[in-house]
């Protein structure tokens, strides 16, 4: 026995409220991030991730207040991402109570941001979000490219090279989202995760495409992910965290129960 694979529910936030809806069995979607986070905490989630999909500076302040409120109610690790552009942004989120901060587009614009943030706050709290899409290569030897703007804008950067570069710069973890699979419910891109996991020595969170509990299992067994992130399958009450863990345990995966 040893380290457990983690299950991380992910919540989209806009203007300090959880959007797209979260429906627990006994409450209607209230959009209240504190209440939702507390529910997941009690339900056995191993971490919680909030991704801010808003963009304005006013919303940043709202996000800081939200993180403060959530951090006061939850006793598991909390990751916050979306729109983090500077070392000052990272500091604000950590001071508000985030345990980790996910950096995405800003790292592509300025790769030194990751190194600076890791140097200042430690690698353990710097997550780099890798949004990748299949691009070129062959079915047997696929290539993936980093995309920005929700998968619309190519960067010409090879995803595996990028992941390695970010880990070398000090990222403590990679949050890998397949832009091909995101929202499709067809499962993770396990070939992508496996290739990155083999190449990069820091933990990898698989994201994008979960449609059922077996996708989580495959994410670990085939994709070699250290943690699996999912949104809709948990939010809409299709499956509980406990069911997900039971399914993973049945497949021989070590989980915290």
């Amino acid at each position: 026995m040893g380290l457990a694979r983690r299950i991380i529910p992910c919540l989209d936030v806009d203007d300090g409220r959880v959007v797209k809806g979260v429906k627990f069995v006994d409450i209607r979607d209230a959009g209240d991030p504190v209440e939702i986070a507390r529910r997941y905490d009690r339900a056995g989630a191993d971490e919680i991730t909030f991704l801010d999909i808003g963009a304005s500076h006013e919303e940043r302040d709202t996000l800081v207040s939200m993180v403060e409120a959530v951090a006061g109610a939850v006793f598991i690790p909390l990751t916050v991402g979306g729109g983090i552009r500077s070392v000052a942004d990272v500091r604000r989120m950590l001071n508000a109570g985030a345990d980790k901060v996910a950096i995405n587009t800003a790292a592509i614009r300025d790769p030194s941001l990751v190194a600076e943030a890791a140097e200042r706050f430690g690698s353990q709290c710097i997550v780099v979000a890798v949004d990748a899409k299949r691009s070129g290569g062959t079915a047997d030897d696929p290539r993936w490219e980093i995309f920005t703007h929700g998968g619309r804008q190519p960067t010409g950067i090879d995803a595996l090279d990028w992941g390695e570069q970010m880990a070398d710069a000090g990222a403590g973890e990679l949050l890998v989202t397949s832009m091909d699979r995101d929202g499709t419910r067809q499962g993770f891109d396990n070939a992508l995760n496996r290739a990155l996991s083999k190449r990069v020595g820091v933990p990898l969170i698989a994201s994008g495409g979960v449609g059922n509990l077996h996708d989580l299992v495959d994410g670990v067994l085939e994709g070699h992910a250290d943690a699996v992130l999912a949104a809709s399958i948990f939010h809409f009450g299709e499956y509980t965290i406990a069911q997900a863990k039971a399914c993973m345990a049945d497949a021989g995966i070590e989980v915290r129960q």
Partner: protein, 212 residues
């Protein structure tokens, strides 16, 4: 009863104060003021990040004396970096002298795991802690319970007698150490849900005697 949570400007220290308040602490101060540390009845020394920054921040805030005094005489809880800083020396940042309360060094995980493949660093997530000794801080916590870890370096004490708990990640390492009025954990009790909160609650009622 005042509990001082040492704030030396590194990372998310307030979550420790929040968790202590949640389990019933009334008077928690998050502080970098040496006088408040000296006046507190209990001291919690949390932290994450790099040991060089940690030690230089402690020097800059003139916290070394107050800390050393607290370590010598009052119930003291070190968390993560706060555990590593209790040792003689860390190999991080090309070698840094630490507080030296316990003899031993802090080493990178690769020294433990060697070339084993598939061992990701940092060691991040929920791992089991085997209790190596009875201690009031383990009260009500099952042996083998999982706690949340996130670290790239581990503590290698000279004396096995101070090891209070171990975990396994490519090899066995000290997850908790302690002696007399000092207890320290590599994991984060403030991020470890029920068992972590229980450990913090135990700390609040602990009289500072190591034997149970």
């Amino acid at each position: 009863m005042t509990i001082a949570v040492i704030d030396y400007g590194m990372g998310n220290l307030r979550s420790v104060a929040r968790a202590l308040t949640h389990v019933g602490a009334r008077d928690v101060v998050v502080t970098d003021d040496p006088a408040q540390v000296t006046a507190a009845e209990r001291v919690v020394f949390p932290g994450q990040g790099a040991v060089r920054d940690c030690m230089s921040a402690l020097h800059r805030h003139e916290l070394i004396d107050g800390l050393t005094q607290a370590i010598a005489e009052r119930p003291f809880l070190g968390i993560c970096m706060g555990m590593q800083a209790l040792m003689t020396r860390s190999e991080e940042n090309q070698g840094v002298e630490a507080l030296g309360h316990f003899a031993g060094r802090v080493r990178h995980f690769r020294a433990l795991t060697g070339d084993k493949t598939g061992i990701k660093i940092p060691h991040m997530g929920w791992n089991q802690v085997t209790q190596s000794a009875q201690h009031p801080l383990w009260q009500g916590i099952a042996d083998g319970e999982r706690f949340y870890f996130v670290h790239s370096y581990f503590v290698e004490p000279q004396a096995q007698a101070i090891v209070m708990g171990t975990s396994d990640y490519g090899g066995q390492f000290a997850a908790a150490i302690g002696a007399d009025n000092v207890f320290a954990t590599q994991f984060h009790p403030e991020k470890s849900q029920q068992p972590g909160l229980r450990l913090l609650e135990n700390f609040l009622s602990w009289d500072g005697n190591g034997c149970s």
